[in-house]
Amino acid sequence: MRSLGELISLACRLFLAGLFLWAAHDKVWDSATFAAAVARYDLIPLGLVNPGSVLLAWLELVVGLCLLVGLATRAAALWAALLLAFFTGLMIYAGFTGAGFDCGCFPGQGDHPAGFQAALRDALMGLPALWLLVLPGRWLSLGRRRERPERLTLSV
């Protein structure tokens, strides 16, 4: 039973790592295009578009790398969950405002229109991150000494 949990954790970790690294690749390499994609949402002032998009792209890359090697998995999963929750909200906003543009989630990787369908996709992608928050696992993980696989207990 414990092995099954470890296996699911490993699968979740590698899936999210692949997702974030894939998404971050073009954003990091072609910052100008990604900045334009961020600007389309018209949510942040002009002066913050470039630095914000660069930070977001590199955060996705760092989170992806941490998940790939299993370093600080819970923290990486927390970032992944927060980012995916933010993206879900953003896609819902885009859906309500009738935005007719590419979501910018995977630049250079085909059309991914912003809207409710993208929101559902992002919400579903957040489920593995929630699993990793509870059970980060330690198979193929660099951070296994520090982050024990016990369930996270929330007590008040």
């Binding site: 990091v28 390499w29 072609d30 910052s31 100008a32 900045a35 334009a36 600007a39 389309r40 018209d42 949510l43 942040i44 002032p45 002009l46 002066g47 578009v49 470039n50 630095p51 660069v54 930070l55 792209a57 590199w58 955060l59 890359l61 760092v62 989170v63 941490c66 600080a72 819970r74 923290a75 990486a76 927390l78 970032w79 009738g98 935005a99 007719g100 543009f101 590419d102 229109p113 520090r146 982050e147 996270l152 207990t153 929330l154 007590s155 008040v156």
Partner: protein
């Protein structure tokens, strides 16, 4: 009931790790942008060194009355769903493809007023900079977006819906 020391230690470790990650991401992004040719500055060139002039809504309407062409710099999906009446669509992604088609109209016009989005003003400024680069003498960027245009009671065009 208080937190157990183990839980507190783990929560602190997770939060600390989160902070380290964002600091590493910021530092790496900064270094990458400074050292590589595809790095971007704080502001894009069409905003840092604009060759266009900004106009408010009233001035934009006056210019349109004098014959200026309105250019909608938003994506075609946005343009198709709703636009200022009389506006043509010229957006950054396919500007080089669309420019030859719109060039005669825009060159004949006494002025061109570009609008896009409000907060970022990104596509409008980018398109305006391009048009100035093509030698158009009077290119303006409208401050405000289509929402302000509509709020002022100015005419918009949107697709007709089929009635059942």
């Amino acid at each position: 009931m208080g937190e157990s020391p183990l839980t507190r230690e783990r929560s602190s470790y997770v939060l600390l790790s989160c902070m380290v990650m964002i600091i590493v991401a910021a530092a790496a992004g900064l270094v990458f942008n400074l050292l590589t040719p595809q790095g971007i500055g704080w502001l894009p060139s069409h905003m840092a060194e604009p060759q266009w002039q900004a106009v408010d809504l009233v001035q934009a309407v006056e210019l349109q009355k004098e014959g200026a062409v309105l250019v909608d710099a938003r994506d075609p999906g946005d343009y198709k769903s709703e636009r200022a009446a009389g506006a043509v669509n010229l957006y950054p992604e396919e500007i080089k493809l669309l420019w030859p088609l719109l060039e005669p109209t825009l060159r004949e016009a006494p002025a061109v007023v570009v609008y896009g989005r409000y907060l970022s003003r990104w596509p409008a400024a980018q398109v305006a900079q391009f048009l100035r680069g093509q030698g158009l003498p009077k290119v303006y960027v409208m401050q405000g977006g289509l929402t302000d245009w509509k709020r002022a009671g100015l005419p918009v065009k949107s697709p007709r819906r089929n009635r059942p």
